[in-house]
């Protein structure tokens, strides 16, 4: 496997038409912040023939059109793209300018809205009220969006609420379900299969292909959950 390094970033091919840039490993907020900074830098750089930039936890993919990256020396496209990326990262990327605004996500916890809340409370050896208090106390960061359009993976879950994924995934998780999988919390933007523990549901529409932007949350955004009751859930659902 060929790899090319620039300061603090390892560049490796992801097939014929993408590069993977590695900024660290694991579920690490520092590496993830570097991914978001790199996303911002690459977006601003506007390299030709780049069709998608995809941030993940500690890595970022740059999808490109190889035919745009030929050169007279006959060097293959991926080396040309990697060289251009190295030049960009010769200056370490500035942290992405962040909107410090916190996006509030209303959640109706438990009951029919969160079928696994009791199981989570039992696993965590906490009262239901304490689980909700801890889940709503934290400020989260959108580490990445993936799995399905608009599904945010959030960093910042209270360690007392970590719980391994369900042994058998559900075939249908209701849209808007707020869930916990391992050390992470996230929100199902549509009815999907899923193996996370469902603790509540938001009436917010997280993804609308016709919206601008289509996704309510973007990588790097800050999020807080706010507890609401069933009546408020109904009001907001019809808002």
């Amino acid at each position: 496997m060929s790899r090319e390094s620039a300061p603090d970033v390892v560049i490796e091919p992801l097939g014929d038409s993408a590069l993977l840039l590695r900024f660290g490993a694991g579920l690490d907020a520092v590496a993830n912040a570097r991914v978001h900074a790199a996303l911002h830098t690459l977006h601003a750089a506007g390299l030709p023939g780049v069709v998608d930039l995809v941030p993940a936890y500690a890595t970022l993919a740059l999808h490109y059109r190889p035919e745009v990256w030929t050169d007279a020396n006959g060097r293959v496209p991926w080396r040309n793209v990697a060289a251009a990326v190295r030049v960009i990262f010769r200056t370490p990327p500035e942290p992405a300018p962040r909107d410090d605004a916190i996006i509030e996500v209303p959640v109706c916890y438990g009951g029919a809205f969160g079928a696994d809340l009791d199981a989570l409370a039992a696993h965590a050896k906490l009262d239901i009220a304490d689980v909700v208090a801890r889940h709503t106390a934290a400020t989260y960061r959108v580490a990445m969006i993936g799995f399905a359009p608009g599904f945010p993976y959030l960093f910042g879950l209270d360690p007392a609420l970590h719980m391994p994924r369900r042994a058998s995934p559900r075939t249908r998780v209701p849209a808007g379900s707020v869930a916990i999988g391992g050390a992470q919390t996230g929100i199902y933007p549509a009815e999907l299969p899923g193996g996370w523990h469902l603790i509540g549901q938001t009436p917010l529409v997280l993804f609308d292909a016709k919206g601008d932007p289509p996704s309510r949350l973007a990588p790097g955004d800050r999020v807080r959950f706010v507890a609401i009751d069933a009546q408020r859930f109904d009001e907001l659902s019809h808002a």
């Binding site: 496997m1 060929s2 490796e12 091919p13 992801l14 097939g15 014929d16 038409s17 993408a18 993977l20 490993a25 694991g26 579920l27 996303l39 069709v51 998608d52 930039l53 995809v54 941030p55 993940a56 936890y57 500690a58 890595t59 970022l60 993919a61 999808h63 190889p66 035919e67 030929t70 293959v76 496209p77 991926w78 990445m144 969006i145 993936g146 799995f147 399905a148 359009p149 608009g150 599904f151 993976y153 549509a190 993804f207 292909a209 016709k210 932007p213 289509p214 996704s215 973007a218 990588p219």
Partner: protein
């Protein structure tokens, strides 16, 4: 003009060259599984490369045309006919007002593209006409009674040319031919027997295969040492290895990120060939390096551009 769907076929969807720019929001590319056949069908119908065409899978639809137009079929070999007269593939075909096109069953290969002069008109979703069946984005899987709208033809619509393309360099559904594969990021983490098996043994395409991915059934592959990994970006053609040891070749509707080891990457030039295989057919991988596969990709793109230019010239002559 309109095209009425009398019978939808097994899985008929409108597709273009895919959706880009929203992958960071979890939106996949979707688009045609065989992008070469899509482009050639469009060229033969007198369209630009970005026009939307109908992707037809294994069993074709029955369609009624409410005005005269030109169509072209390219890709898997289907028995198509209008009123009992065979409709040849890989060429422009004039159809009359009221004609009913019956596309039948594929004889070889899995997917063909029906392009219509002027292209099918679709309200773009996030910049693309493609149908993402799994993510439910864009259009839907065609059903009886649907009406498709086509744009205004840009070439003469009154004559079928007397020539057709030789599909051989552009279409290959022969399962005896190997599919070229680049080593993936985690190839070296496979145990020695699995590294050999990947390139020496035969895999069967599982019945659960679809536009998201092809499940490959064969020798169970295993890692020599476990890998601690979190979700990382994926690409079309990525060969993922879930814990069960049966790899999945990701196709156009793959999720944007995933957490399984990436043991290989199908060469871009061979993605259309893999897309033409059916569940139950076999796959053998042959190793290629990235420099070679990018060189072949550039050669193919040059040749395809030249061919499409030549088609355009002949159609306007």
């Amino acid at each position: 003009m309109n095209v009425e769907v009398v019978k939808p076929g097994l899985l008929s969807t409108l597709q273009d060259r895919g959706r880009h720019g929203a992958a960071m929001l979890g939106v996949g590319t979707a688009g045609a599984m065989d992008d070469v056949a899509l482009r050639l069908a469009n060229a033969l119908a007198g369209n630009g490369a970005d026009a939307a065409a109908l992707e037809i899978t294994l069993i074709g639809p029955r369609l009624r045309f409410d005005a005269a137009t030109t169509i072209a079929l390219a890709g898997a070999g289907f028995h198509a006919q209008i009123g009992g007269d065979p409709v040849p593939m890989w060429q422009a075909v004039a159809v009359e007002r009221g004609a009913v096109l019956d596309i039948g069953t594929a004889r070889h290969g899995a997917r063909a593209y029906l392009a219509i002069a002027g292209g099918f008109l679709v309200d773009a979703t996030l910049g693309s006409a493609s149908t993402d069946v799994n993510a439910r984005l864009g259009g839907h899987v065609l059903k009886a009674g649907d009406r498709l709208t086509a744009g205004a033809p840009t070439v003469r619509k009154d004559a079928s040319p007397r020539w057709s393309l030789d599909p051989r360099p552009w279409f290959d559904a022969d399962a005896a031919h190997s599919i070229r594969l680049i080593r993936g990021t985690h190839f070296d983490a496979l145990d020695a027997a699995s590294r050999r098996a990947l390139f020496e043994r035969e895999f069967l395409i599982g019945n659960e295969s679809n536009r998201v991915g092809f499940r490959l059934e064969g020798p169970a592959l295993a890692l020599g040492t476990p890998i601690e990994m979190v979700s990382e970006p994926l690409a079309t053609g990525t060969l993922q290895l879930p814990p069960g040891g049966q790899p999945i070749a990701l196709m156009v509707e793959h999720p944007t990120v995933g957490g399984y080891p990436r043991i290989g990457q199908v060469a871009a030039v061979d993605l259309p060939r893999l897309a033409q295989r059916r569940p139950g057919e076999s796959v053998r991988f042959e190793e290629i390096d990235l420099a070679a596969t990018q060189t072949r990709y550039l050669e193919r793109e040059r040749a395809l551009d030249e061919l499409i230019d030549a088609i355009r010239e002949r159609l306007s002559a």
